[in-house]
């Protein structure tokens, strides 16, 4: 096709990008850091590369891992009334519910506030660490990044903090409550997540993975007619 010299190919889709929100086609172009590309039809953000974004994302992922480990083992809230006291870390909570019918609920809650955020941080580091140094990505980097994107709506640390605030008000009449270090770790996590979102540009990461040579990872499974 004669479009080839313009950098895209309408028969194979090479060099094109379709807006995930509205399917409008765009020609892929090199962008300068700091620019933001928006869809011509629905104005969704298509790409917003930032200078040094990969290194920042790796640093923020490590930060959230540290905070999350602290959040698991340090006391979360301390409650006391009439001489009866109870200081509990999330780890204690998990142990307390280790048997019983509500185990699935507790496991789901712990997964949403601890498990998935840690897994996401780990997957991001796994994907980005080689890319930030300009080396070839590790095996299954594409899969790792896709899973981290799938997990994103399900990691709910910031919602948990608001939930804690509501719980504090509810329990205030019943007992005295003190906030533990784990609570502040969760609050810090909100800001780490916000910063991470500002640097996150999925399109740039996908492009980096592709350019660094992961082009053929899914080739064999996907093309029924291709012989090799």
């Amino acid at each position: 096709m004669d479009d080839r010299e313009q950098g895209y190919d309408l028969s194979t889709g090479q060099g094109l990008i379709a807006c995930p929100r509205c399917d409008a086609l765009h020609v892929e172009e090199e962008m300068d850091p700091g620019e933001t590309a928006r869809c011509i039809r629905c104005a969704s953000v298509l790409a917003k590369p930032r200078d040094g974004a990969f290194a920042q994302l790796i640093a923020l992922s490590f930060t959230s891992m540290v905070l999350l480990v602290g959040a698991v083992f340090f006391p979360f809230l301390e409650v006391s009334t009439m001489g009866f006291g109870n200081a509990s870390s999330l780890f204690d909570v998990a142990l307390a519910f280790a048997e019983g019918v509500l185990l699935p609920l507790v496991l789901a809650v712990l997964a949403m506030i601890i498990g998935l955020p840690i897994a996401r941080a780990f997957l991001l580091v796994y994907t980005l660490a080689p890319l930030a140094q300009g080396r070839a990505p590790y095996r299954h980097a594409a899969r790792a990044f896709r899973w981290s994107e799938i997990m994103r709506p399900w990691s709910m640390a910031e919602i948990f903090v608001i939930g804690t605030a509501v719980a504090l008000v509810k329990v205030a009449g019943l007992a005295t409550v003190q906030l533990g270090p784990a609570f502040w770790a969760f609050c810090a996590l909100i800001f780490v997540n916000l910063a991470s979102r500002a640097f996150m540009c999925q399109t740039s990461i996908w492009d980096a993975i592709e350019d660094a040579g992961l082009r053929t990872e899914f080739d064999d499974a996907s093309r029924p007619e291709a012989g090799g």
Partner: protein, 219 residues
């Protein structure tokens, strides 16, 4: 990124009209017969109304789970080993109790997160799935996309009430004085929120634009 058709003469070129298929996960474009995105490994789904079946299935599952979530108690509070009373609170009951305590702001948060957001989400997803793929003007399409983005963003916040119950029942285990146990509604509410999140995720926003008349953005 630049526009494929810079002079805006024709209709907005889409991957579908060009006989291609766009990856909903990473945006890469492939020939239409591709089943799987070679770059990110996501399954490629053409933007057609068949995908709405999954939306409706999760929607119905979420609606069914939402009924017991409102009928059964979210948590049981036991004070002085039951001597001072056992109280069971449903979602609405919890809100009313908060109002009696005078904490109106928290009552509003809980009411919005557990009643208004889920109900609004059911209505919004049903509406989006009904009108998806029907002809629309550009303004209507933008409005629908906005509604979809709000639904997608706000869905997770309904989990607040589940977290509240989890925190309270873990924390308030003060033996004789007071103890709080989660009720069956906590589980069904969490399940309902998860199902509606899946319903919103399986909705293909590209369908909103499928029914647009073939004309350019500049009209």
């Amino acid at each position: 990124m630049s526009v494929l058709d810079p002079d805006h003469a024709g209709p907005v070129p889409t991957a579908h009209r060009a006989g291609l298929i766009g990856c909903h996960s990473c945006g890469r474009v492939w020939p239409a017969e591709h089943q799987r995105c070679n770059r990110c490994g996501a399954h490629l789904k053409p933007p057609d109304r068949r995908g709405l079946q999954a939306v409706w299935a999760w929607w119905l599952a979420g609606l069914i789970a939402y009924i017991p979530a409102n009928v059964f108690p979210m948590m049981r509070t036991q004070t002085f080993a039951g001597l001072a009373g056992n109280s069971e609170a449903t979602i609405i009951g919890g809100v009313i109790e908060l109002i009696h305590h005078g904490s109106y702001d928290i009552a509003i948060i809980v009411f919005v997160a557990s009643i208004i957001v889920p109900v609004g989400k059911f209505i919004a997803i049903a509406w989006l799935a009904t009108v998806a793929g029907r002809p629309a003007t550009i303004e209507q399409a933008h409005m629908r996309l906005k509604v979809y983005e709000v639904v997608e963003f706000i869905g997770r916040w309904s989990m607040i009430d589940v977290f509240v119950v989890a925190i309270l029942s873990a924390l308030v285990q003060l033996g004789f004085v007071a103890s709080i146990h989660p009720g069956p509604a906590a589980v069904s509410f969490a399940v309902s929120v998860a199902f509606t999140m899946l319903s919103a995720q399986s909705f293909d926003a590209r369908l909103i634009w499928r029914g647009l008349p073939l004309r350019s953005k500049s009209d």
